[in-house]
Each structure stands twice: as structure tokens, then as C-alpha cells.
């Protein structure tokens, strides 16, 4: 991964907008770390769901099916 993994400014902006608060310097890295964990979870679950429904790979339907539970799981 030659380039920076994610646009830090964008993440900061997004979280700032939702929290209506400023972020400390490296908080966004941890937030992105958490986001990576979340994505891992989503894709794992989606892969399981899509396999269960007989689809190949990860489909959008399986992602939508799974994301609700994953968001709940990652709710603070």
C-alpha cells in the first residue's frame, strides 16, 4: 500500500460533522482502525450470508442484510 491507506482529512471531517466536536491529532487513526475492524466484520458476515444463500463472493444484498447486525455490534 504505497499511498496512505485512507484520506485522513475526510475521515476527520466526517466524524467531526457527526460529533459536532473537534478530533484530537491521532484519534482519526484509531477511528479508522476501528472502521477497518468493522469492515472486516461486515465482509466476513456478508461472505457467510452470501454463501448461505448460494451466491458467489460478496453480494450487495448480503452486505445490506448483514450491516444492520454489524452496526449494532459496533455500537458503543
Amino acid at each position: 500500500m504505497p499511498q496512505t491507506l485512507y484520506p485522513r482529512g475526510t475521515v476527520k471531517k466526517i466524524v467531526k460533522a457527526h460529533a459536532n466536536r473537534p478530533l484530537s491529532k491521532n484519534a482519526d487513526i484509531l477511528i479508522f482502525l476501528k472502521y477497518a475492524l468493522f469492515m472486516q466484520e461486515v465482509i466476513k458476515e456478508a461472505g457467510i450470508a452470501s454463501k448461505r444463500s448460494g451466491e458467489r463472493g460478496v453480494s450487495a444484498r448480503s452486505v445490506r442484510k448483514v450491516r444492520e447486525g454489524c452496526l449494532r455490534k459496533f455500537k458503543g
Partner: protein, 440 residues
Amino acid sequence: MPRRRRAIQPIQPTPGAKSGRSRNSALDLPDIDDDEPTAPRFSMPLDDMYDDDSFNEEPPRQSILAPLPEYDYDNGTVQSIEFGRRARSEDPRLDRMFNKRISEQYGELNDLTINGEDYELDGNFINRRGTLLPNDLLEQVAEEDLDNTTTEIRALTGRRDGRPSDVDLGVFGDVDDEDEEPTFRFTIPPRMHVPVEDEGDEEDEVDMYNETQRRLNETIIEDDEDVENDTRAGAELVNDDETAPVLADDNETGPFEIAGWESEPDAEDDDEDLQAYRGEVSAIDRSLQTPAPETPAKKRAGRQRKTLNISRFGHEYPSFPAATVKTLANGFIKSQGSKTKISKDTLAALVQTSDFYFEQVGEDLAAYAQHAGRKMIEEGDVIALLKRTRQVTDSSTVFSLAQKLLPRELLQQLRMEPLPKLRRQKRKRMETIREEDGHE
């Protein structure tokens, strides 16, 4: 004698007299008389005409000949003038025919172009040529031979080029078309579609193949008709320049197409499946291989300008970049061992999901910070969140997670930046951890 006569009469005379009469009067005289004047007329012109038109295809013409008089009657009103011309042409022929032998006549037809035309014009249709294209008649004689060859080639190759010529002769074609030509006319537009359909749909190709076979049969008959009618000749004279090259091309393509159609449908079905699989893989590969920035750049531009989301606090924020989502998701999918890659729909769903996620995280972190009595969201809040979701436990620390998931650059930043602040932040972290530990 009388006795002999009596004896003879019962036996011989009755049959003898009858046979003698029949032999003398009916058989000999009329046959000789008929053969001299009439027989050459009917047999010769007809045969000559057929031979001239098409060498190999006599039977279909004869079958077609019967309907011809009908056409003549139908067209009679239109071509009344032409009939007069026929009679003129016929008369000189008959004179020449009688005077000269058949072989000589045949040669004369070729030699005398104008007369040859007239002879060819003997058919009802031929007269039209003269009427329709008087100037072309002179040119036709040389071209007629070509036309005959071309028509035969067409019949063999299934050419339908004859149709356009028929179309050109509107009046004549209309009357004739009622029974037979509707098929011809239909064939014309489909031909135009043929090349396109051949490339595209295989089912259509099968249909087209059947149609082409039909047309082959039809065209053979039609070509015969056309030759006899000579309607073509007039039309073709105009079209020959155009049709001739086209014919050559089509002749080349025609047989190949037909052969291809026979063999293709089965083979192509398999090919389609294979291609479909290959196409999918290739498409996915493209999406993956092609620099992701293209799609994200477009989406970013579109979303940042169009769909700047507004949080409940009234702040605008962009949706999470799709490129990042894609790289992340593909990395995770690879790590899971499946080789499939993310489709557009999946990516869109993931982007939406990540938007939901950041909204949720933002609210959670805001709540944590507020609970801690701070305005700013700090790393400790995020760590607290991770801990609460059991992602940071005693066995897995933040750094171990970061080492797994984050690239070295970010990991170094995580490590490096805290260092100068290590004391403060570690205190804070330790404090928070201790507090939570205490609570637990």
C-alpha cells in the same frame, strides 16, 4: 374376285381400309404438314428462350411458365402497347425461323443484338424492357449473358440481390407479387438486417439460416422467373453496376455465413457460457486492476458537489471515499481466501454501510467525550469505544490490532506521535483504563 373379295373383305378390308385411311390421312399428311409450319415455331422459340435464360434450370421454368399467362392478362391493360410490339417482334422471328434452321436461328440471336433482344422480349416481360428501358435494350444484349450467369450464381449462392430489381419494377412486381413475391419482398428488408443479426444474436442466426435456405429455394425459382420475365434485366441494367460488386462480396460471405450458421449455434452456446464467465472475471479484474482512483475520483466529484450529506448538527460532510472502501474490502476478501472481487453494487452498499458506521461512531465518540467533560474527541475515547466493543482486550491491544490492519505509515504515526506525549497520554490512557477497570 368376288369370292376373293368376299373372302378378303371380312378379314382384311375393314381393318385394312381403316388403317389405310388413318395412315394416309391422319398420320402422314397432318404430321408432315404440322411439323413443317407449326412445330418449329412452338418448340423452337420456347426452347431457345429457356436455353438462353438458364442452361441448367429448365424444369422450374416450365412449371413457372403456366402462371405467366395470368400475369400477362393482369398486365395486359398496362402493357397493351407492348403486346403490339410483341406481335411485331414475333412476326419477324417467325419469318426468320421458318426461313432458317434452328441452329442458325440460335446463332443469329446472339449475333443480332437488337433482334436477340426482341427474341428475348418475346416473353411477356421482355416487351416491358423495351418499353421501360428502350435505350438500355442496346446495352442489355451484351449484359444479358452476364445477367444469366449472375442469376445462376445468385441461385447457387442464395443471392437475393434479384429482389431489389423486382422492387424497381413496381407495377409489374405488384401484380405478380400477390402469390409468390410477398416472400421476396420480405426477404429484402431482412437482408439488410442479416449482417447485424449475424453478429449479434445466435437464435436469430438460426432463423436467418432457415430463411436463407428458404430464400435460396425462392431465389432459384425467382431468378428463373426473373430471367424469363426479363424484368430483372431492365432493373438490373440500372443496378448491375451496384449489384455486381455487392454480389461478389455477398457470394464470398454467403457460403461462409451459411457454413458458420450450421456449425456455430451449438459451438457458440458453449462459447457464450465460457465468454460469460470470462467476461465476468475480466470485468472484475479490470475494476480491480484499473487504478481505483478513476471511479473514486468520479464519485468523489459527484458526491462532494451533489450529495454533500448534512449531519444532524448541520455540518456538511462527504461520504466515505469508495476507493478506500474498495481497497479495504478487497484486502479482507483476499485474506478470507475467496478470489472473487467486489462488484459495483456491493461497493455501493459497503460505502453506504461505512457512512452509517461513521455516523454511529461520531455520535458515540461525541457521547464519550461529553461524558468525559471534554469538547475534543481524543484517542482515549476511541480506545474506550474499542474496548467496549471487545475489540481491545487484554489479549489484543490497540497496537496489535493496528499492526494487523493498518499500514506501516499509519502505525508509525500511531507509535511515533504519542512518544513525545507519551507521558501525558499514557497517563490519560492509564487513567481511563484504570477507571474502567475499576468500574468493571
